[in-house]
C-alpha cells in the first residue's frame, strides 16, 4: 500500500522534475537510497522548486539577509560611516541581519493591555499569506507553481491584500500613533494602487496577454522598459510608495508617529512586521523584472540546465532592489497630502499616457 503511494508520488515528481546537469551525478546517487530519494524528487519537482526554493521561500530568506545588510552598508558608505561590522568581521558584518533576527527571537514579545489580543498576535503571521500566495503564480522558465494565463492579474490582486493586514494591525494595536499610521497607510493605498494597476494593465495590453511567458517572449529583443518607458517610471514610483521607501515612508514615519501601525510590537512579532515591506518589495520587483526587464531572458549555461531561468530572474531582482536601496539615503520624507496630490495629479496622468502607449503598441506588435 505505502509502496504504491510512494511509487505514484515518485512518478508524479519524476515526470516533471528540474533537469540540472551540474548536480545530476549527486541526484542519481541519492535516488538509489530509499526514502531520501522521494525527498530529493520532491525538491526537484518543478512546482515545489519554484515555490519553496527559487524564486520562492528559500531565496526569499537569503534575500532578506542580504538586503538588510546591503542597505545598511550602502547607506553607511554614502554617509561617511562604516556600517555593521562587528558581527563576523572577516565578511564585513554580513550576518548582522541574522544576529538581529536571533535577538528578536529571544526577546519578550509584549502584548499590551489595550490591544485586541488575538488579532494583535496573529495578524503579523496572517500578513504572510498575501505575501506568499503570489509566489505560487510567478514563473521562472520551466519552474512554475501554478501555470495560468492570468498570472499577472492574480499577482496584482494578491498584492492589494497586504495593506489590509497592515491596517488591521494598526487597529488591533489600539494606539493613537498606530491609528494615525493605519489611516496614512489606507490613504497611501488609494494613492498608489490606481496608477500601479493602470501601469500593469498598459503592459498587459502591450503584450496582449496576462501570461508571463508571453510577456517574457515578447521582450526577447527589446525589454519592456524601452517599449513603454512611462509605464516603467510609474511602476517604479508606485513601487516605492507601496513598500513605504523613503520619499514616501509616510505610514511608518518613525520621527512623526513612531513606526505607525507597528508602534506596539516587540520581539519576534516586530521582527515579522519589519520584514513585511522587504518581502512586498521582493514580490513587486519580481513582477517588475518580468514586465519590464525581460524576466528570465539572459545567460544560458549548459551545466545549469533548468536552473538558468530562476537564477537569472533572482539575480535581476536583487540587482534592481540593490539599486532602489539608494533612495533611502537621498531623500527626505514627503507629507501625506503632498503625496496624495502628486499621485492623483501627475502620476495618474502619466499612467494614462502609459496606457495609451500600451494600447497603440499592442495593436502594432
Amino acid at each position: 500500500m505505502i509502496d504504491e503511494i510512494l511509487a505514484t508520488l515518485m512518478n508524479v515528481f519524476r515526470s516533471n522534475s528540474m533537469q540540472i546537469p551540474l548536480i545530476q551525478p549527486i541526484v542519481d546517487y541519492l535516488m538509489q537510497i530509499p526514502l531520501i530519494n522521494i525527498l530529493v524528487a520532491l525538491i526537484l519537482w518543478r512546482p515545489f522548486f519554484a515555490v519553496v526554493i527559487m524564486p520562492g521561500l528559500a531565496v526569499l530568506l537569503l534575500y532578506l539577509l542580504y538586503i538588510v545588510w546591503f542597505e545598511r552598508k550602502l547607506t553607511a558608505r554614502i554617509q561617511w560611516r562604516v556600517g555593521p561590522l562587528e558581527v563576523a568581521r572577516p565578511i564585513r558584518g554580513a550576518i548582522q541581519a541574522l544576529a538581529d533576527g536571533l535577538r528578536y527571537f529571544f526577546q519578550e514579545a509584549i502584548v499590551h493591555r489595550d490591544a485586541h489580543r488575538p488579532y494583535f498576535v496573529q495578524l503579523p503571521i496572517l500578513a504572510f499569506i498575501p505575501i506568499l500566495l503570489p509566489i505560487a503564480f510567478i514563473p521562472a522558465g520551466n519552474a512554475v507553481g501554478i501555470k495560468t494565463p492570468y498570472a499577472i492579474q492574480l499577482i496584482v490582486a494578491f498584492l492589494a491584500l497586504i495593506p489590509i493586514t497592515i491596517i488591521a494591525i494598526g487597529w488591533a494595536s489600539n494606539n493613537r500613533f498606530a491609528f494615525v499610521g493605519s489611516v496614512r497607510e489606507a490613504l497611501m493605498y488609494v494613492a498608489y494602487e490606481i496608477p500601479f494597476i493602470i501601469a500593469v494593465i498598459s503592459m498587459i495590453y502591450l503584450y496582449g496577454s496576462g501570461d508571463p511567458y508571453v510577456a517574457v517572449e515578447k521582450q526577447s529583443l527589446v525589454p519592456g522598459a524601452i517599449l513603454n518607458p512611462i509605464a516603467f517610471l510609474v511602476f517604479l514610483i508606485t513601487m516605492l510608495m507601496a513598500t513605504s521607501r523613503l520619499p514616501f515612508e509616510i505610514p511608518e514615519a518613525d520621527q512623526e508617529i513612531a513606526f505607525g501601525p507597528f508602534v506596539e510590537y516587540s520581539g519576534m512579532l516586530f521582527g515579522l512586521v519589519m520584514v513585511l515591506a522587504y518581502e512586498k518589495l521582493y514580490i513587486m520587483t519580481l513582477l517588475f523584472v518580468i514586465l519590464f526587464l525581460g524576466g528570465w531572458n539572459g545567460f544560458y549555461f549548459e551545466p545549469l540546465g533548468d536552473l538558468n531561468a530562476p537564477l537569472c530572474l533572482f539575480i535581476k531582482t536583487v540587482v534592481v532592489i540593490s539599486i532602489i536601496a539608494i533612495v533611502r539615503s537621498m531623500y527626505a520624507r514627503y507629507r501625506i497630502d503632498q503625496t496624495l496630490r502628486y499621485s492623483f495629479s501627475w502620476l495618474i496622468a502619466f499612467s494614462m499616457v502609459a496606457l495609451g502607449i500600451g494600447v497603440v503598441l499592442g495593436w502594432i506588435l
Binding site: 494615525v180 518613525d254 520621527q255 520624507r333 507629507r335
Partner: protein
C-alpha cells in the same frame, strides 16, 4: 470643501487623568466632546526631544499645542548661588553644551562689567573665534536634527561629520572638544599658538568644502524644500509680538542682532553681513542659519589674519594665569549691584544678570534667560493650523533645545 461633522461622544482616555498634564480637566473633556482629540508627543517620542507637547488635533490639522517643558530642568540659577564666581563658569555653559563659548562669554562679561576690567585686544579676538566656532557647531547640530526629523538620514550624518572639525579646532585651541571653560574674567586661560590658529584657518576652508556636499544632498533637495517651505509661517509682526529671538527673528525679516546693536568683543573690527529673510517659514529659518555659518567662517578668518599681538589676560587680574588661578580668582567679590549683559548666542539673544550683595564671594542671584525659553511661545504659535506631520519639521526648523530652555 464642506466640512462633515461627526458628533460622536467619546470618553476621554483614562491615562489622561494620571499623566499630570499641565492643563485643566475641563480642557480634556471639552476636547473630546468636540471632534478633536489630544496627542501627547513626548517625552519618550523619537520626534520630541526632552519635553512633552500636548497637541490638540482636528483630523490632521493642529488646533493648539500646549508645551510641557521642564523635564531637564537642572536649577542652574539656584546652583549658581552656592558656588564661587569662578566655579560658576563650568556650570553656566552646561545648558547648551554645543554653544558653550557664547554662554561662557555672557557670564564672564557680566563679571567684567561689574569689576570694570579692560580686556586686551588679543583676548577679544580669541574669544570671538571661540564664540563663532561654537555658533557654527550649534547650527550644524540643529541642521542635523532638522534633517532626521523630516526623515533624511544622510542630512543627519553630514553635519555631525563636519562638526568633528569644529570639535577638533576647539580641542586644539582650548584642550576640550566643547564645554572648555576657556573664557575667564579678564581674558582667556591660555595663549593660543600661531600654528594652532593656522590650523583653524585651514579648517574653515575644509568646512566650507564639506558644506557644499551637504548643500547638494540636503539643502537643495526637492523633498526638503517641499517639506519646509510655507510651513510654520511667522509674519514680521507676529515674530515681534511673540518675542522670537535670534536667527528665527531675522528669518521673519527683522534686522536685529545683538552683535550689531550692542557690539562686544571684536565684532566691531571685522566686517560681516547680518543675514535676514522675509518669508518667515521653516525653510527661511533654516537658510538663515546656513548663511550665518558662512558669515561665521568669514569672521573667524578675519580674526585670525588680523590677530593682534599682546597679552591674553588683563594685567588688572594677574601677569600669568598659569599656577595662580585660584589665588587670583578664588576670592573674587563683586561690588554690590545688578549687572546685565546681552549676548548673541547661536539660537538667539542670551541674557545674564548677576546680582551681588558686595560682601560674599558667591553671587546673590544669577538670572539666565536663554533664547530657547524666549522663542518657545513663537514656536507654539507657528504650529497652529499646520498638519500633524509638520510638527517635527517646524520643531527642527526652530532647533528648539529643551536643556537650553529648561536650564
Amino acid at each position: 470643501m464642506e466640512e462633515i461633522k461627526i458628533e460622536v461622544p467619546v470618553e476621554p482616555p483614562k491615562e489622561l487623568e494620571t499623566l499630570f498634564l499641565p492643563i485643566p480637566k475641563d480642557y480634556v473633556e471639552d476636547t473630546y466632546r468636540k471632534d478633536d482629540f489630544l496627542i501627547l508627543v513626548g517625552p519618550q517620542h523619537p520626534g520630541s526631544g526632552h519635553m512633552r507637547l500636548i497637541v490638540r488635533v482636528k483630523g490632521d490639522i493642529i488646533q493648539e499645542v500646549i508645551p510641557d517643558p521642564g523635564y531637564v530642568h537642572r536649577s542652574m540659577e539656584k546652583l549658581a548661588e552656592n558656588r564661587l564666581y569662578i566655579q560658576n563658569i563650568p556650570l553656566v555653559e552646561r545648558p547648551a553644551i554645543m554653544d558653550s563659548a557664547n554662554f561662557n562669554l555672557g557670564y564672564v562679561r557680566a563679571i567684567e562689567s561689574a569689576m570694570d576690567i579692560e580686556v586686551p585686544e588679543r583676548a577679544k579676538f580669541l574669544r570671538t573665534i571661540l564664540a563663532e566656532l561654537c555658533r557654527i557647531g550649534t547650527h550644524l547640530y540643529d541642521a542635523a536634527i532638522l534633517a532626521v526629523f523630516i526623515g533624511h538620514t544622510t542630512g543627519f550624518m553630514y553635519p555631525f561629520g563636519i562638526r568633528e572639525l569644529i570639535c577638533e579646532a576647539l580641542a586644539r585651541m582650548t584642550g576640550a572638544r566643547f564645554t572648555s571653560s576657556f573664557i575667564i574674567p579678564g581674558g582667556v586661560r591660555r595663549d593660543v599658538e600661531e600654528k594652532t590658529l593656522r590650523w583653524v584657518y585651514d579648517a574653515t576652508f575644509a568646512i566650507e568644502k564639506r558644506l557644499k556636499s551637504f548643500e547638494r544632498i540636503f539643502i537643495k533637495n526637492p523633498t526638503t524644500i517641499a517639506r519646509l517651505r510655507d510651513v510654520g509661517v511667522l509674519s514680521k509682526e507676529e515674530a515681534i509680538r511673540f518675542g522670537v529671538v535670534g536667527p528665527f527673528l531675522r528669518a521673519s525679516g527683522v534686522e536685529y542682532d545683538t552683535r550689531i546693536v550692542e557690539p562686544y568683543e571684536a565684532y566691531e573690527e571685522v566686517t560681516w553681513d547680518i543675514v535676514t529673510a522675509d518669508e518667515g517659514d521653516g525653510y527661511a529659518r533654516f537658510l538663515v542659519r546656513v548663511n550665518e555659518v558662512s558669515q561665521s567662517l568669514g569672521i573667524i578668518r578675519q580674526c585670525i589674519t588680523s590677530m593682534p599681538e599682546g597679552r591674553y589676560v588683563s594685567e588688572q587680574i594677574c601677569d600669568d594665569v598659569k599656577g595662580n588661578f585660584f589665588d587670583k580668582f578664588g576670592n573674587l567679590v563683586l561690588p554690590a549691584g545688578e549687572y546685565t549683559t546681552l549676548t548673541e548666542a547661536a539660537r538667539g539673544t542670551l541674557l545674564f544678570t548677576i546680582v551681588s550683595d558686595g560682601e560674599s564671594n558667591v553671587p546673590y542671584r544669577v538670572r539666565i534667560v536663554t533664547p530657547g525659553w524666549l522663542y518657545l511661545r513663537g514656536f507654539m504659535e507657528s504650529l497652529k493650523g499646520e498638519r500633524l506631520a509638520d510638527l517635527q519639521a517646524i520643531y527642527g526648523s526652530f532647533g528648539y533645545f529643551p536643556p537650553e530652555a529648561d536650564r
